[in-house]
């Protein structure tokens, strides 16, 4: 069911199975029929771990969404709340429980906290007088959820905001816990590298937790050689730029959530002649996107400009394969053809889907505005005119383009100029406030606090130094058969991935100067292994590095790391973990002031 998780260098199905086992064990503790009341935010991530069938096998008969007042009627013995440890949710649960008690037969209540039990929440339940109503109060350590064969995410929406705006390290603690779980399954990671304040904290917590667990030392041969912890605020630039890989663009335009995307249905209407356009589907087309689909695995990380040729080549191969049937003469040949049919049909379906998606994307990317925006982004990233008011941005504001798009561009300019001149900054801010409303003053404050938007300190722009040393801008980019990670942004090489690349070869010592300019400390820690577990690398065997993005990662960055993994003489394969899969829009949105 999740075979694609085991294709990679590290078999992440092991993790999936481990968390599934834990879930089953919990469900079996509550004997008898059950209803689950969901914290709505959890349903998406849970879908990647356990489908409804698993829950059903363990006597889950009903599922509800957690909301106030009474629980819907259900003839079950157990009511289990699956919730994140948040006070506001405790209030709702208490309301549910209290209104439940007054009618009908008594039922058993349980709480499963995801990912961690919380004393604070239990105290709240106690204050509300319902703590005693729960028979089982347990935690489900679902920190890192396997998304793909080389990708793990905590899907913690607010992680960046909490860490950088609110100095709340809860998600860092969960990240450290998740890494401990990972090490329990895949062995101690001998070397930890990191850059950034949060990275430092996570490493500290890991070392501390390791001390706590010394008794249960696991004797597992380490699968990962290195861990690289990266703060998102070390590289604020990358997520702001528009991703230009296939997957990245799907995410930018339609948004991928928990590996699913919803697309406008028109393009997916079954092509039948004489249909006359009636019966067009109106419900969005929902597709799961992961490497289980062969074609998607091949094109997801390509620059979008290289996708078309692959699709047409595939189309030829498939129609040629279907043509084969005319050549099949003997019974044996026909039989062989028929045996391949299901696979071929699946391939054809997949091809049709992606051709439609590519067409949808192409409509956007060929638009003039997309081109203009990209031109401005690329100018900023290559260091052109970053210090003055940009007329394209002004025009966008004047025409009231979406605020997130505008903020993204202003922030990009600010980051590429190590902050804007006060006059320029104030101009942009005033324009935004006058056009979109003064209430966005708080959003601007948040962006400033996060360092995305700031006045230039001391009038010095350090971005050119960083750009040149790390070769962030490559003029000779090859989108079709790339030779460098910069293909994912058609010229810009993501800073974060460059750091990972340079760490593996030749090492960070070569870029000490730049590392000092970037915020936060950089460090290296070793976790000693018992002698029996020390690895002797075979010649030609690649290292495995786990790169953990604290505060989010984009699909383009993932694509760039996958590109590095596939390099023949790369020497390192990467597994990626993050607090949340983001793009510039969702990221900026997470920082915006939410109305109370």
């Amino acid at each position: 069911m999740a075979a694609h998780l085991s294709y990679g260098r590290v078999n992440l199905n092991v993790l999936r199975e481990a968390v599934r086992r834990e879930l089953r064990e919990f469900l079996d503790k509550c004997a008898g029929s059950k209803a689950i009341v969901w914290d709505e935010y959890l349903t998406g991530p849970f879908g990647l771990i356990a489908q409804y069938s698993l829950l059903k096998e363990h006597e889950v008969e009903k599922m509800f969404t957690l909301k106030g007042s009474r629980l819907p009627a259900a003839d079950v013995k157990n009511i289990i709340f699956f919730v994140r440890p948040r006070l506001e949710l405790m209030d709702i649960i208490a309301e549910n429980v209290l209104s439940e008690d007054r009618r009908g037969p008594a039922r058993d209540f349980h709480i499963l906290f995801v990912p961690r039990r919380s004393l604070l929440c239990e105290q709240r339940l106690k204050d509300l007088g319902v703590l005693g109503s729960f028979i089982h109060r347990e935690e489900y350590g679902l920190d890192l959820i396997p998304f793909d064969g080389d990708l793990l995410s905590m899907e913690s929406e607010g992680a960046f905001r909490e860490c950088y705006l609110e100095s709340d390290q809860t998600s860092l603690y969960h990240a450290a816990k998740g890494l401990m779980t990972l090490q329990a399954l895949y062995g101690t990671i001998p070397q930890i590298f990191g850059k950034g304040e949060c990275a430092r904290q996570v490493a500290n917590m890991m070392i501390r937790m390791k001390r706590e667990f010394t008794g249960s030392q696991n004797a597992i041969f380490p699968v990962f050689d290195n861990l690289l912890l990266l703060d998102r605020n070390v590289d604020l630039l990358t997520p702001l730029a528009t991703q230009l890989t296939y997957e990245g663009l799907i995410d930018e335009i339609y948004g991928i959530q928990n590996s699913y995307v919803k697309l406008p249905p028109e393009k997916f209407a079954p092509k039948k002649q004489g249909d006359g356009g009636k019966d067009l589907p109106t419900e969005a087309k929902k597709l799961q996107l992961n490497s289980a689909e062969e074609l998607y695995a091949e094109i997801r990380d390509k620059n979008f400009n290289a996708v078309g040729s692959v699709l047409s080549k595939k189309a030829k191969v498939i129609s040629a394969a279907f043509e084969e049937r005319h050549h099949a003469k003997t019974v044996g040949e026909i039989k062989q053809f028929v045996s391949q049919l299901p696979h071929m049909q699946a391939a054809r379906g997949s091809l049709a889907n992606h051709t439609s998606i590519a067409e949808l994307i192409k409509d956007v990317t060929t638009s003039e505005d997309f081109f203009d925006k990209l031109t401005v982004e690329q100018e900023f990233m290559s260091g052109i005119d970053t210090d003055k008011v940009n007329s394209y941005i002004e025009d966008c504001i004047a025409q009231k383009h979406p605020l997130i798009k505008v903020l993204r561009l202003i922030c990009l300019q600010s980051v590429c100029n190590s902050g804007l001149k006060q006059k320029v900054l104030d101009h942009y801010k005033r324009e935004v406030l006058q056009t979109y409303g003064y209430e966005h003053l708080l959003t601007l404050h948040s962006l400033e606090k996060a360092g995305l938007l700031k006045p230039q300190a001391g009038g010095r722009n350090s971005y050119p130094t960083i750009r040149k040393t790390l070769r962030l801008w490559m003029d000779d980019v090859n989108e079709q058969s790339p030779t460098d990670i910069s293909y994912v942004y058609s010229g810009y090489a993501p800073l974060s991935v460059r750091l990972a690349q340079l760490l593996s070869r030749p090492g960070w010592r070569s870029i000490e100067e730049v590392l000092r300019i970037l915020p936060g400390p950089h460090f290296e820690e070793r976790q000693p292994l018992p002698t029996g577990l020390q690895k002797k690398r075979q010649p030609g065997e690649n290292r495995v590095t786990l790169v953990f993005f604290l505060g989010g990662v984009t699909f383009a960055e993932i694509a760039a790391l996958r590109f590095l993994s596939q390099l023949e003489d790369g020497g390192t394969e990467y597994v990626i973990a993050t607090t949340k899969l983001v793009n510039g829009a969702t990221w900026i949105e997470s920082l915006m002031e939410r109305p109370l």
Binding site: L119, N204, D426, Y438
Partner: protein, 794 residues
């Protein structure tokens, strides 16, 4: 090798019993054993002796001595008995000594004579006094059964979880029963008692008369009864000198034996081995010991001294002032090896070894025989020998050892404070550290913290030196013990070594070291733990102190702020005020302004915000907030005058709405007041007028002065409204840079080509070319190609 079988005594056809010495006792008893109350714990456990002065005369003034010895007679403790008269002594399964007083109070002592606790067996017992008492063991723990002066029984099946049960009355019982015992059937403890020729079984509901099947007639009284170690069998000694043996359920008789002695025996106990078919009881009189089973003859021993029998799982221990012996059925394995003329493999191997020394190496040639069990057996034997040493004095047999398990044995060594031996055994048996060495070290440490004469520093250091980072050691458990002994400082020192903050913090809170708990919680990174301490502190300290504490802990402060943001907005404001954080205060008031329903309230909140921003030296935010106030007031006036909604529109949208409604003057005025930049104002007007499709006004506007945004937007917006006619008007006014684009937009390909050729711009040429479609533009396309060719020539 004859000596092996020299002490084997046959009982019937198939079984041998032997008695051998375990120890010659190390103790030096002043009196005969019969003068003491005696309690010996099973599994080679300790022996307690209490000289019994109450039997003879009621002399309360005499304070007897309670002595505790190991099974080898090594003294463990000795203390003066200062409490009331004791009726009975007994050991619990945890090797705690239970002393049942006449008044029904049970005092509990440790192995080293340390007083642990006491409990009472109830009022009824207190009133009627204790006549007799028994301590018994079941799978639930150790129980106490009491026979009171009123001939009633009170029972508790588990002294660890004291629930007293008063047993039903025996009808017509006038005197004490001649003998009684505790049975345990179907997990329920019952009492079997004998009154004259009758037997009664008491459970918690009823009293029923029972009859042992097949008992020889003529019995007028039962003198002694014994239940087996596992509660499966029962033996009765009658005044006819008959010993009846059967199942404890009294449903089946095993055998009966007449010993022809009518004197009441001092003790009678079962002596059988698990899984053996043989059943036997051992009966002791003053100077005689008899082993009786399902055989016509019995085995008889002479007792030289006063002796005491201790039933064990697989035999009977017999100790006196000078010796300690073990009597048991010879195990089958030994029998097979040593029985005369045995042909069992073991016997042959032994014979061979006697003849040829080489045979002792035979094991090496057995390649298909897995050595594990051999190795394990050797290890077990070594452990058993080590603990049997008279310094230690735990004489366990192999079966007892297996029944007890190594874990319990280690616990018992710990109880005797034999830490080094326990650790050696763990290391020798390679037990996992968490179950073995660590646990023992932790126990040692818990003992160590009770040594009040050693300073806190020294104890903490000693403990850390020995324990270090040994996995599985819980420093917090040790610290909790230290705290329990009233050594808070030591507990804090010990907690320093505890790596698990989840364990550290609650204990620190309990010890009222909340501030220390806070810094520990912060160190751990576990925000939930930090919250827990914070809420604790909030209740414990007054507000000022609480805020001061937060001030020194930035991480805790920001977490608390988060908490307040959702739970206590007012406190949040106080926190910002305390820190003079005017920037955040400003934001706070802005947020608050949105909660205000009335515009006056909003403006007032915004004014407070603006003031705060000024204090924060955030001029921009202050000005912006003042602008917002100004806009709000203005919008309200507009609403009053124009009768339509303006509130909550942005400035831009307000101006747009005014234009759309035809209030151009007001729009102009507003734009001036707020200094909307010209460029944006042009865009704004352009968009609004096009929306209105007011082409006339748009044209007028375009001619009002030179457009700061050029004329291409005019073309674009007209085309967007599908008005090519209007669009063309503006296309001609577009500057040369964008002219081609404009011409193409209005569909004038030919002119676009001309402009592009004139400008000699390659990119524009390609652009125009890409717009050339079909036959109509054929000429234009040719023209461009020619121009290109010409350009290349140059």
């Amino acid at each position: 090798m004859d000596c092996y079988t020299a002490n084997w005594n046959p009982l019937g056809e198939s079984a041998f019993y032997r008695k051998y010495e375990l120890y010659s006792m190390d103790w030096d008893l002043k009196e005969e054993l019969r003068d003491y109350l005696v309690a010996a714990a099973p599994y080679g456990g300790p022996i307690a002796l209490l000289r019994n002065p109450w039997q003879k005369e009621k002399a309360a003034s005499i304070r007897p001595v309670l002595e505790i010895y190991s099974a080898s007679g090594m003294p463990l403790a000795s203390l003066l008995w200062k409490s009331g008269p004791v009726v009975s002594l007994g050991w619990s399964a945890e090797e705690e000594l239970l002393c049942v007083q006449e008044d029904g109070v049970v005092l509990v002592y440790g192995l080293h004579g340390d007083f642990r606790r006491h409990f009472s067996m109830g009022n009824e017992v207190l009133q009627n006094r204790v006549l007799d008492a028994r301590i018994f063991h079941t799978e639930f723990g150790s129980g106490v059964a009491i026979l009171t002066g009123a001939h009633r029984f009170t029972l508790s099946a588990n002294v660890g979880d004291l629930k007293l049960r008063r047993m039903p009355e025996v009808p017509g019982l006038q005197s004490a029963p001649s003998c009684w015992t505790i049975l345990c059937q179907d997990r329920v403890a019952q009492i079997l008692l004998a009154v004259g020729p009758d037997l009664y079984l008491l459970d918690h509901a009823a009293c029923s008369a029972v009859t042992p099947p097949g008992l020889a007639p003529g019995v007028s009284s039962f003198l002694q009864m014994a239940v087996s170690f596992t509660y499966r069998h029962l033996a009765l000694f009658t005044d006819t000198g008959c010993i009846w043996m059967g199942t404890a359920s009294l449903k089946e008789k095993l055998c009966e034996f007449n010993c022809n002695i009518r004197a009441p025996p001092k003790q009678m106990v079962w002596c059988s081995r698990p899984r053996s078919k043989e059943r036997a009881v051992v009966v002791a009189w003053e100077r005689r010991l008899m082993v009786v089973g399902d055989a016509p003859e019995s085995i008889q021993f002479v007792l030289d001294e006063d002796s005491y029998l201790v039933p064990e799982l697989d035999g009977v221990r017999i100790f006196s002032r000078s010796t300690h012996e073990f009597l048991h059925e010879v195990p089958v394995a030994s029998e097979e090896i040593f029985k005369i003329a045995s042909m069992a493999p073991g016997a042959l191997l032994l014979e061979a070894q006697k003849e040829y020394e080489a045979a002792s190496f035979g094991k090496c040639f057995l390649d298909r025989f897995p050595p594990d069990s051999f190795v394990r057996m050797c290890q077990d034997l070594r452990v058993l020998n080590a603990i049997r040493d008279y310094h230690i004095g735990i004489p366990l047999t192999y079966s007892q050892y297996k029944q007890l398990t190594i874990q319990v044995l280690l616990d018992r060594l710990v109880l005797r404070r034999l830490y080094p031996l326990a650790i050696q055994i763990c290391e020798y048996l390679r037990l996992p550290e968490v179950q073995g060495v660590s646990r023992i070290l932790a126990h040692w440490a818990c003992y160590k913290v009770q040594q009040k004469d050693v300073s806190d520093e020294d104890v903490a250091r000693a403990i850390n030196q020995k324990l270090g980072d040994t996995p599985g050691v819980s420093y917090s458990d040790i610290a909790a013990r230290a705290y329990g002994c009233g050594r808070t400082e030591l507990a804090i020192k010990l907690l320093e070594y505890e790596p698990r903050s989840g364990e550290q913090v609650p204990l620190l809170l309990k010890m009222k070291r909340s501030k220390l708990a806070l810094s520990k919680a912060i160190e751990s990174g576990d925000t939930d733990l930090v919250f827990t301490v914070l809420l604790h502190l909030k209740n414990e300290l007054n507000r000022g102190d609480f805020f001061m504490t937060l001030r020194n802990q930035p991480m805790a402060l920001s977490l608390y702020r988060q908490f307040c943001k959702h739970q206590e907005l007012e406190t949040l404001k106080d926190l910002y005020n305390q820190d003079d954080n005017h920037q955040e205060l400003g934001s706070f008031h802005i947020r608050a302004s949105y909660a205000e329903e009335r515009i006056e309230g909003r403006v007032a909140a915004l004014q407070t915000a603006a003031d705060a921003f000024y204090k924060a030296k955030n001029e921009f935010a202050a000005k912006a907030t003042e602008d917002q106030m100004r806009l709000l007031r203005l919008q309200r006036r507009l609403e009053e005058e124009l009768g339509r909604q303006f509130l909550d529109l942005s400035l831009h949208d307000t101006v747009t709405t005014l234009i759309l409604d035809g209030h151009n003057k007001r729009a102009e005025q507003l734009a001036r007041d707020f200094r909307i930049p010209d460029k944006r104002l042009w865009w704004l007007k352009l968009t609004a007028l096009a929306d209105l499709e007011d082409w006339e006004e748009l044209e007028k506007f375009s001619k009002s002065k030179k457009s700061p945004i050029g004329y291409l937007p005019f073309v674009e917006i007209c085309m967007k409204q599908h008005n090519k006619y209007e669009a063309k008007k503006y296309a001609s006014r577009v500057g040369p840079e964008q002219k081609v684009k404009a011409l193409l937009l209005v569909g004038d390909v030919a002119q676009a080509a001309d402009v592009a050729i004139e400008r000699r711009n390659e990119a524009e040429l390609s652009l125009v070319l890409s717009h050339c479609t079909g036959a109509t533009d054929g000429a234009t396309a040719d023209k461009i190609q020619r121009a290109r060719a010409q350009a290349q020539k140059k």
